[in-house]
């Protein structure tokens, strides 16, 4: 029976690449090294609601149709639309993302990723102040101070701490966890916080205040810091600043608690500035805890193909970027989009009500291996192979390291890349006919 080593797990942004998978009769029967989340993805493939066949909504019901019919129906929607929103593309391969961008370009659509409701503000922060980072192995081998800010890897990135951060052992960090100070900054005592040497509980929405106070402390302006900031005593802030300044190598991992709370991108801007200031004293870097396994890849591909990482509007024929105006939620809330193509994401479950309400009114094409709430409002549904299990392709880890995901088992399902290619061909055909 084939045993596939060093498979890449296509679940979270940690992109663990040491998974051993046993395949029997084209079924995965054994998974080694994966965390509970990764394990359920590999196993769940056979248990969850796969979309089994292409479907088109007729008289309110999704009815099975041949693949070609679904492609034609989807292409017609795209050709007839004057303002298509193409959204998602984060739990798929870079190869598929590239084709999706080409399709958006050819149809004058607007394309955005799940960063719109996730780490989008981190991109804006980088555009303000840059993103001083490092590959995860730098943390593993060097870091003696690790801060998790507004993120909870115990549940969201379960192997992060053992492979890359808190517990990992490396060249200079031979003692692993014992040689490291682990700080967690959050609004509640998460399971990650329970493992920390130092837990700093801040008032909700006050991250920027604490970041600013820390910068003041690091830069020697202790006098301007009030007695309490963000619910934290000045003494504690000074102590934290000293911990960071005196580190050999520190890393601030930040999550959606930082990017999606009050002050949004200004928080990331502040963290970036703090990192720059800290480097006056010691080495320090920041890394965003990206969720979807290839949301980083979307940003990379979109940036080299269009110049922008997200919220790209091709209405003018060339890429136009104005986050806040051209984001997925912006065009939905403004009721501007007149059709949507959703792939590898679930806005039906995760978008604000007003956006979902508009989505329900317009023709929606869904490309996904699994049924989800978005399926309920989709008009054309095209099932896809699961990338990293049934299809190969490139994904970028949260630290922008690209890895090749393997195909582990055969499938009848088309890949996202193939579906998008077929859509491009059909759209061209319809346009030429018109």
């Amino acid at each position: 029976m084939p045993v596939i080593k060093d498979a890449v797990c296509s679940l979270c942004g940690s992109l663990c690449d040491d998974i051993t998978v046993t395949v029997e009769d084209n079924k995965i029967t054994k998974i080694e090294n994966a965390c509970i989340l990764g394990h359920s993805k590999f196993v769940g493939m056979f248990e969850h609601d796969r979309i089994e066949t292409p479907m088109i909504r007729k008289d309110g019901e999704l009815v099975p149709v041949p693949y070609e019919e679904a492609i034609e129906a989807a292409a017609k929607i795209l050709v007839n639309s004057r303002r298509t929103l193409s959204y998602g593309w984060c739990s798929t391969s870079c190869e598929a993302i590239g084709k999706a961008i080409q399709l958006a370009e050819e149809t004058g659509a607007l394309i955005d990723s799940t960063a719109n409701v996730c780490h989008g503000p981190s991109a804006l922060a980088a555009q303000e102040k840059g993103a001083p980072g490092a590959s995860l192995g730098e943390i593993k081998n060097r870091a003696d101070v690790i801060v998790f800010w507004g993120c909870n890897p115990v549940h969201a990135h379960p192997r992060h701490m053992s492979r890359y951060s808190s517990f990992s052992k490396g060249f200079f960090s031979t003692k692993g966890r014992k040689g490291r100070k682990m700080v967690v900054i959050d609004v509640r005592k998460t399971d990650t916080a329970k493992l920390a040497d130092k837990y700093v509980e801040i008032e909700q929405g006050s991250d920027l205040l604490l970041i600013t106070a820390l910068r003041s402390a690091v830069n020697g302006h202790e006098d301007v810091i009030p007695e309490t900031v963000a619910g934290i005593s000045k003494e504690e802030i000074m102590e934290l600043a000293e911990t960071l300044k005196n580190a050999q190598f520190s890393c601030i991992f930040f999550g959606m608690g930082v990017t999606q709370s009050r002050s949004k991108y200004k928080n990331g801007d502040g963290v970036s500035s703090l990192i720059s200031d800290l480097n006056q004293h010691s080495k320090s870097v920041m890394i965003g805890m990206r969720g979807h396994y290839n949301v980083t890849g979307f940003g990379q591909v979109a940036t080299w193909e269009t110049g922008f990482p997200m919220a790209i509007d091709f209405a003018r024929g060339f890429p136009y970027y104005n986050p806040g105006e051209t984001g997925a939620n912006n065009v939905l809330v403004r009721e501007e989009a007149d059709a949507a193509m959703i792939s590898a994401a679930d806005p039906g479950a995760h978008f604000p009500q007003k956006a979902v309400r508009h989505l329900a009114k317009i023709p929606v094409i869904q490309i996904d291996p699994y049924a989800n709430p978005t399926t309920e409002i989709a008009d054309v549904v095209i099932p896809a192979a699961v990338v990293g299990i049934e299809a190969e392709g490139t994904a970028y880890r949260m630290d922008a390291i690209p890895l090749r995901m393997k195909k582990l088992i055969d499938t009848e399902f088309k890949t996202d890349e193939q579906i998008t290619k077929d859509l491009i061909a059909k759209v061209r055909e319809l346009k030429e006919g018109a």
Binding site: D6, G133, S284, G299, E305, F318, Y396, P402, L403
Partner: protein, 574 residues
């Protein structure tokens, strides 16, 4: 297969590799190669006596990989339209993908715009091996051009350990393996040892400053890698970004580095050393207060040396984006200029950073930097030692090459620019006293011919029979133009080739994109004796098991990332 034949009639050929200096003749092309003759059914292109050169070859440009960080943090660059026809947003057409950008254009724009300048080959200056797939993913989306890239070895743990432990054979085996893993073409060394020091927020101060924890000096790393490079008989020499880049007084380190390589015996008929973007490494003075040009000293050394080549790193006034594996330099830039700063250190391998900046003729420092690049080009007598670059986009975007050519070809043009400088700037440069003006022949050497030998690509950068039919025809009648006076015309002509042919396909006509074939990717597969290879692999196995965060099997760039590969095999001299 259908034979495709082209006859370029009345081409005013400037092909220094053959010593042809603007002579009018016909060029014959069959199946993408230059040939002796073609049949009567050949398609005819009438060059009408216009200047015709081999396709340009940019041997040091940041065009795939790290440039994406530049794009990501500078979305404003996408809308910059500073050079008409070669920058800013352009809608998709039947033939072309949508384009944006100036310093950091999207991948498609990079291909189209280089082709419009008559360039057909580029070499990406820095591939971080762990992220090599990324470079190749971008290569795949750069149309038209042939591509190659240089892999970073200068702060690599395995390299430093082998140098320290005096294991030259294993070091060579590791370099061969690294090139294969990253599908690289050559060995790049950036601020040797400085990337590792930057892992702790530090730097090395010169050739003999030991790298923290590794007990080797930058000089030892350089000498170790050049030995490996020659043992492997690589087509390119080591490609060195010197220590102390960007610091006043660094010309001494630069000359010292160049001198160290005098004793190196190249095993391939090419230079023993290429020193890159020397403008940034030819600074005199002791601080930014008494900063002045160091170009005369460096040029003086270069005029007496025959073992090396170098490129300019010419500065272009206006916005630029600095991007380099020299991590500490970028951090220093960002603090000094109060600019945004991105950094990306790569485990066990190297560092890197990206900082946008703007060069202003009003700043005496920037004015002197601008002058140094040109001084180097004019003071060094032999153009075969010089590759023209802006270290795009560090000194400025490649779309400014035509503007920069006029600096080299016209003293009047230089005077125009210099007239805007303050007295302090003028006191710190020697450029106003230089009246040399380069000819089209010398320009052709610096932009295509010397690259052929420098990279051991005999089929590139010349129009010899058997060479690739990469041809640029510019709207210049050399007998009717005085580039010294008519520099604006020269700039216009180089900004949009009348024709660019890539492998015999017309890809540009009258400055517009005609076709977008996919170019090749060159990479080097260097042979290493099996026992040495296997001994080296045992060492790297440990590196992957204990220190890397990716598996060894997932480190190697797969074939599927190179849709049109050209594998260059070398035999090695072990």
């Amino acid at each position: 297969m259908r034979m495709s034949e082209i006859l370029i009639k009345n081409a005013n050929v400037c092909d220094p590799a053959q010593g042809i200096n603007c002579e009018t003749m016909d060029l014959c092309i069959r199946d993408g190669k230059i040939v002796e003759s073609v049949s009567e059914s050949a398609e005819v292109i009438d060059a009408a006596g216009r200047l015709t050169m081999a396709g340009g070859f940019d041997g040091h440009t940041h065009s795939a990989g790290k440039i994406n960080v530049g794009r990501f943090m500078n979305p404003n660059d996408a809308r910059r339209t500073l050079v008409p026809g070669l920058s800013g947003p352009e809608a998709r057409t039947e033939k072309t993908r949508a384009q944006v950008g100036y310093n950091t254009p999207n991948t498609y724009a990079i291909g189209y715009r280089y082709a419009k300048l008559g360039y057909t080959t580029i070499c990406e200056a820095a591939i971080p091996m762990l992220a090599a797939r990324h470079t190749h993913e971008e290569f795949k989306e750069i149309p038209i051009l042939d591509k190659m890239g240089l892999s970073l070895f200068g702060s690599n743990w395995q390299v430093m350990e082998y140098v320290r432990d005096k294991e030259p054979e294993k070091l060579a085996a590791y370099v061969a393996w690294g090139l294969k893993a990253s599908r690289g073409y050559g060995v790049k060394i950036v601020n040797a040892g400085g990337g590792e020091a930057w892992g702790w927020g530090k730097n090395v101060s010169g050739l003999y400053d030991p790298v923290p924890n590794f007990d080797v000096t930058p000089a030892e790393i350089l000498m170790g890698l050049v030995e490996a490079n020659e043992k492997l008989q690589l087509p390119h020499s080591v490609h060195v970004h010197c220590n102390n880049l960007g610091k006043p007084g660094n010309y001494e380190t630069t000359i010292e580095t160049m001198k160290m390589f005098e004793k190196v015996k190249p095993t391939v008929d090419r230079q023993a050393l290429h020193v890159t973007h020397v403008q940034f490494n030819a600074y005199a003075g002791t601080s930014w207060r008494d900063f002045e040009t160091g170009a005369p000293m460096v040029a003086d050394y270069l005029n007496g040396a025959n073992h090396l080549t170098f490129d300019l790193g010419q500065v272009i006034f206006g916005p630029a984006v600095t991007m380099t594996a020299d991590g500490p330099v970028e951090y220093a830039n960002s603090r000094m200029l109060h600019e945004k700063w991105s950094n990306q250190d790569i485990e066990l391998e190297d560092a890197s950073g990206v900082v946008p900046l703007s060069y202003s003729p009003k700043s005496f420092i920037n004015a002197v930097q601008w002058a140094i690049g040109i001084e180097l080009a004019l003071l060094v007598e032999d153009p075969w030692k010089i590759m023209f670059t802006t270290d795009s986009p560090n000194g400025g975007s490649f779309v400014n090459y035509p503007e920069a050519f006029t600096y080299l070809m016209s003293a009047k043009k230089r005077e125009q620019v210099i007239s805007g400088f303050g007295k302090m700037a003028l006191d710190r440069m020697v450029l106003p006293g230089l009246d040399r003006e380069l000819s089209f022949y010398e320009l052709a050497i610096m932009t295509r011919s010397m690259q052929s030998k420098m990279y051991s690509r005999p089929e590139k950068g010349n129009l010899k029979v058997g060479s690739d039919a990469d041809v640029a025809i510019y709207d210049i009648i050399t007998s009717d133009i005085d580039p010294s006076v008519e520099h604006e015309k020269v700039k216009q002509a180089f900004s949009g080739a009348a024709y660019t042919l890539k492998d015999g396909n017309v890809v540009v006509k009258d400055g517009k994109i005609e076709a977008t074939p996919m170019g090749r990717t060159y990479w080097v597969n260097a042979k290493v004796p099996a026992d040495i290879d296997s001994a080296m692999n045992k060492d790297t196995d440990i590196k992957f098991k204990k220190y890397y965060t990716v598996s060894k099997s997932n480190y190697m760039v797969e074939d599927s990332y190179l849709p049109n590969p050209v594998e260059i095999r070398t035999e090695g001299a072990f």
